[in-house]
Point group: C2
Chain length 164, copies 2
Amino acid sequence: MTTRWLDEDEQRTWRAFLAATRHVQETLDRQLQRDAGMPHAYYEILVRLSEAPERTLRMSELASRAGSSQSRLSHAVARLEERGWVRRERCPADGRGLLAVLTDDGYAALAAAAPGHVEEVRRTLFDVLEPGQVAVLEEICAAIVSPSGGTHGGGSAKSVGRRP
Amino acid sequence: MTTRWLDEDEQRTWRAFLAATRHVQETLDRQLQRDAGMPHAYYEILVRLSEAPERTLRMSELASRAGSSQSRLSHAVARLEERGWVRRERCPADGRGLLAVLTDDGYAALAAAAPGHVEEVRRTLFDVLEPGQVAVLEEICAAIVSPSGGTHGGGSAKSVGRRP
DNA sequence: CTTAAGTATATGAGAGTTCAACTAAAATGG
DNA sequence: CCATTTTAGTTGAACTCTCATATACTTAAG
């Protein structure tokens, strides 16, 4: 099949998308690195652990929830363990598995980092958008992560820009 | 000021945003790495050079157009030069400056990579969105990159979800 | 003209990410 | 049971990115 190139509008949208996501990522990563001494990926890991019962998760489950590859998680948890923020225990039920546990120090580090981070998320994203845009943004992101429509052309007509 | 935490809806949107942008980035980066042997950042550099007159740009201008830091660009162009895809020349007008020039080999590499990349952009983003969503997405991204509204509360009412 | 300040880019160390290869422990199936 | 396959997780090398610092040239000031 011949390449379906982007038309002018799509080009513009695509480049805007790249610029915007880059901007958000860089802004947040810099803020966390500067104020909390950790990259955003580490913050995500701590968050997911803090939400889990016993502040404990299997490595693979943690990887999936934090949106990380297993290898990346493995390296990251190794660093977090060096800092004393996470501890690893053998999984009693499955000898291959490991449980990652958020320590009290880790929880404290997360609690210290959270306000500044959330404030930056707000400034970077929510403060610059209208409520309607936020609603559509969520639909868009959901569609990207789990594409429902198959072939081009006749996608199901979802509501766009509606306000309940 | 006390932290403005995210409410439940905002949390959901924020996490969807992270998951979606991660998904897009990883998908494209993997595709380019696998099929063209370059990371997405390098592809961007080649694209911007290919669009410039004489396929030539000052390093700083190239950095700005490709959305790269100067340091990152410097390292990247060094690698691209090793591959023979880019060449650096002293800037005649300004002895400090350097001109990055896309070579014929570099252009060929870009031309070879483009169809697969564009197809992946389409599959990952445009194919899963309705036209209305695409339009709003562009507005959203524009707002993120150059925030117009200042203090919270009274943002100017932009159109949301409209279709001309 | 000389010196100070500023601009353009490079460079090197440190850290995170990826990919492929590796270990170890379950599950599966004769 | 024993062999095979699958699953869980780690590891190391290669690569990219960031940050701080260095270099070279230009502009501004006296």
